[in-house]
């Protein structure tokens, strides 16, 4: 992070008057074009992922977020409807058309209740960030925009942040050796430009702005969708009661219409370090001291009997 006023021993960059910035990703208007993935790779100079079909014929080439994929459009292919819906739809299926005429497959698929959802996944820039808590070198820091950024010139690739992220975002690159994840385009923000993915998104499914403004906009969007009869619309990671917040609130949050697990997201999340450190350390060090005492006791008894 040359050129910023980051204090080397600090794990945070401070700048007066800076606001929390974030992403609001509205999956209800995502068309799965992957422009965000491409824009992200171009701006951040990330290598390609190859172009193989993965996961049993899914159109999702990329599979998941990785050290070289910081935006990933997850394809949620709900091609199997619930049994009652299926029954209902089968009774309403159009008759098989006579030879020579092609059936309207799209209409048929819609009739059977299939859904095809897209969700542009990204680092959540958690308030209580597991990766940031875990990082032993101080490579991961919090910026003045309250985002979580990895300093590539400090990271030594220890890999601890990888299982410390409950969302499966950060990963270690097998070739480069360092961890990598979304920086919310910290370098672009410094120059007054919005992040590359948000800039590229043709439907504005990815929206960038000051956190409070984004949350207000997202809440109005949820209300709008509820008004249109889409009762399943909700926000993942924002506008929760304090006891239901995901990792203290997500800097990058989402509007979803299905339960979180459909998108590969956990229903609750917390920094694993903040959740477990005290209990685990107390038990571990307690056991360590007990073992040392046990050793001393064993020796003292043996000595006494030996005499």
């Amino acid at each position: 992070m040359t050129g910023t006023n980051a204090a080397p021993t600090e794990l945070a960059i401070h700048r007066g008057g800076a606001r929390r910035m974030g992403f609001f990703t509205d999956t209800s208007v995502c068309i799965g074009c992957k422009a965000c993935e491409v824009a992200c790779k171009q701006w951040n100079d990330l290598p390609a992922d190859g172009s193989q079909f993965k996961k049993g014929g899914s159109y999702d080439h990329t599979g998941d977020l990785s050290a070289s994929t910081w935006r990933h459009v997850r394809f949620v292919e709900l091609l199997e409807p619930s049994p009652p819906l299926q029954q209902e739809a089968i009774s309403a299926l159009p008759a098989i058309p006579p030879a020579g005429e092609l059936p309207d497959l799209v209409a048929m698929a819609e009739g059977v209740g299939s859904k095809w959802l897209f969700m542009s996944d990204v680092c959540k820039h958690c308030t209580n960030a597991g990766c940031l808590d875990a990082c032993p070198t101080g490579a991961l820091i919090r910026t003045e925009h309250q985002t979580v950024v990895l300093q590539a010139d400090v990271c030594n690739g220890c890999g601890y942040c990888v299982p410390a992220c409950p969302f499966g975002v950060v990963d270690r690159d097998p070739i480069d050796g360092r961890a990598g994840k979304c920086t919310l385009c910290y370098d672009r923000l410094e120059d007054g430009l919005e992040p590359a993915c948000a800039k590229a998104c043709p439907t504005d499914s990815i929206q960038f702005g000051p956190y409070e403004e984004l949350v207000a906009q997202a809440e109005r969007r949820v209300a709008e969708l509820h008004g249109r009869g889409i009762d399943g619309a909700y926000l993942y990671g924002a506008a929760d009661e304090p006891e239901h917040e995901l990792a203290g609130g997500l800097g990058a949050f989402f509007l979803l219409t299905e339960p979180p697990e459909r998108y590969g997201l956990p229903a609750e999340a917390e920094s694993p370090i903040q959740e477990n450190l005290l209990a685990a350390t107390a038990a571990a060090v307690g056991a360590g001291l007990l073992a040392a005492a046990g050793a001393a006791l064993s020796f003292t008894i043996a000595r006494r009997r030996g005499r």
Partner: protein
């Protein structure tokens, strides 16, 4: 790895557009302090408004108070879909170096406990030998840890900051302190400075109580279901393995040095290793019982084989000295110690491999998030006090902060320098 899959291919071109791999891109503005063309202040170009303004039907409805929070709660706590479309989290990337380090670090701390105990009991010679065992076991540890890094040349950055929140950072500091105390103690013993040796031995045993247990904390503080839900068991289990393997290694060394079988230290160590193995088996069994769905990975594939091998090895080790009679007692005890060491190694590998499998178990990860994973889930406090991740106030300019800052900058620069020297010509 097939042609064209740059994600995994070794042929991937990772030359950055600017600068060198790993270094900051050395670019300069053409005109100092100039802005980017067309960029507006405060990200004015970012207006979502260009499609979705307040005057559009996109977000025109004001929500009822609590409406969104209620919708969030309903969808996140409603029925969980039958199939979880993973991956939810990434599996740990650690390879064989890490469990091997856990094993060696464990032996070192166990030997440090034995050295302290021998000192307390007044057996100065055995204590000195145990301290040598501890030092010998801990010496390869940094090599293994460095080898496991993605960028081994930057190993110094582990000591760039002091971060009590990160078990790995604390472990690195503890390893450095433990090794230093151990080397000092052995040197003092060799020079005949008995009191210094003893004092350093006490420090080493205290540090050992963290070195042998923090590895369990390190695993427990991840999002891996098996590890996270074993959080109060992992540390104690790892300490038990450490004590058993450390005592076994010390006892074998003493036996090789010709200590008689009925020597009190010998007897004490034999009891200590058996007791620690029993404690480890008991803790493991209790933990497996309560793990519920999270423990399913223990009964499949590689983790199952490793755990069975580990339990089999230490089980035979427990029985052997009990059934041996007469002249076969001494070799039986030695074989038992070797079995404990082998079993301990298998346990280390088993825990790491099982964690990887658990992270790939999408359903278990999802169930853990919903608090429906283990049998005793309701015992866990749900709303604990949380702290913002690392947002410390800025350091003062002078005084100790200045030294800390200089330390971090020096370590960071030294790491990059080492990396440049190591990778030169590649």
């Amino acid at each position: 790895m097939s042609e064209g899959n740059d994600h995994d291919s070794a042929s991937r071109d990772d030359t950055p557009a600017l600068g060198t791999r790993g270094g900051p891109a050395p670019w300069e503005r053409a005109v100092e302090d100039s802005g980017v063309a067309l960029a507006k202040p405060a990200w004015g170009d970012a207006g979502w408004s260009y499609i979705f303004g307040a005057d559009t039907s996109y977000a025109g409805t004001e929500p009822q108070p609590g409406e969104v929070a209620a919708a969030n709660r309903a969808m996140r706590s409603g029925a969980m879909p039958e199939s979880v479309q993973g991956p939810v989290m990434h599996a740990p990337v650690w390879t064989w170096e890490v469990p091997l380090y856990f094993w060696l670090g464990g032996i070192a701390s166990g030997a440090a406990f034995a050295a302290l105990a021998a000192d307390i009991a007044g057996d100065v010679e055995s204590a000195a030998l145990a301290r040598k065992v501890a030092l010998g076991a801990v010496l390869p540890a940094p090599v293994l840890l460095i080898a496991d890094l993605g960028r081994p040349a930057r190993f110094l950055n582990m000591l760039r900051i002091f971060k009590p929140r990160s078990p790995m950072n604390m472990g690195a500091w503890c390893l450095a302190a433990f090794s230093s105390a151990g080397a000092g103690a052995v040197a003092a013993d060799l020079l005949g400075a008995r009191r210094t040796g003893r004092r350093l031995g006490v420090a080493q045993a205290l540090l050992g109580s963290y070195l042998g247990s923090y590895t369990g904390v390190l695993l427990a503080t991840t999002a891996v279901p098996l590890w996270a839900r074993s959080r109060v068991f992992l540390g104690p289990i790892f300490v038990a393995t450490a004590t058993a393997t450390g005592a076994a290694a010390t006892r074998l060394t003493l036996a090789a040095a010709g200590q008689p079988e009925d020597h009190p230290t010998h007897v004490a160590l034999a009891r200590l290793e058996a007791g620690a193995i029993l404690a480890e088996l008991t803790l493991s069994t209790v933990n497996e019982r309560r793990l519920g769905r999270a423990g399913e990975v223990l009964s499949r594939g590689t983790p199952r084989r490793l755990f069975r091998a580990a339990k089999g090895l230490v089980g035979v080790g427990l029985v052997l000295p009990l059934v041996a009679r007469g002249r076969s007692r001494r070799p039986a005890q030695n074989v038992a110690s070797v079995l404990y060491l082998a079993g301990g190694l298998a346990f280390r590998f088993a825990w790491v491999e099982a964690g990887k499998a658990s992270a790939r178990d999408d359903e278990a990860v999802a169930l853990m998030a919903r608090g429906r994973l283990t049998a005793d889930e309701r015992l866990r406090a749900h709303t604990e006090r949380r702290v913002l991740s690392e947002d410390r106030p800025p350091l003062a300019v002078g005084g100790p902060a200045k030294t800390l800052r200089a330390w971090s900058a020096t370590v960071g620069r030294a790491s990059l320098l080492i990396e440049r020297l190591v990778t030169r010509g590649r």
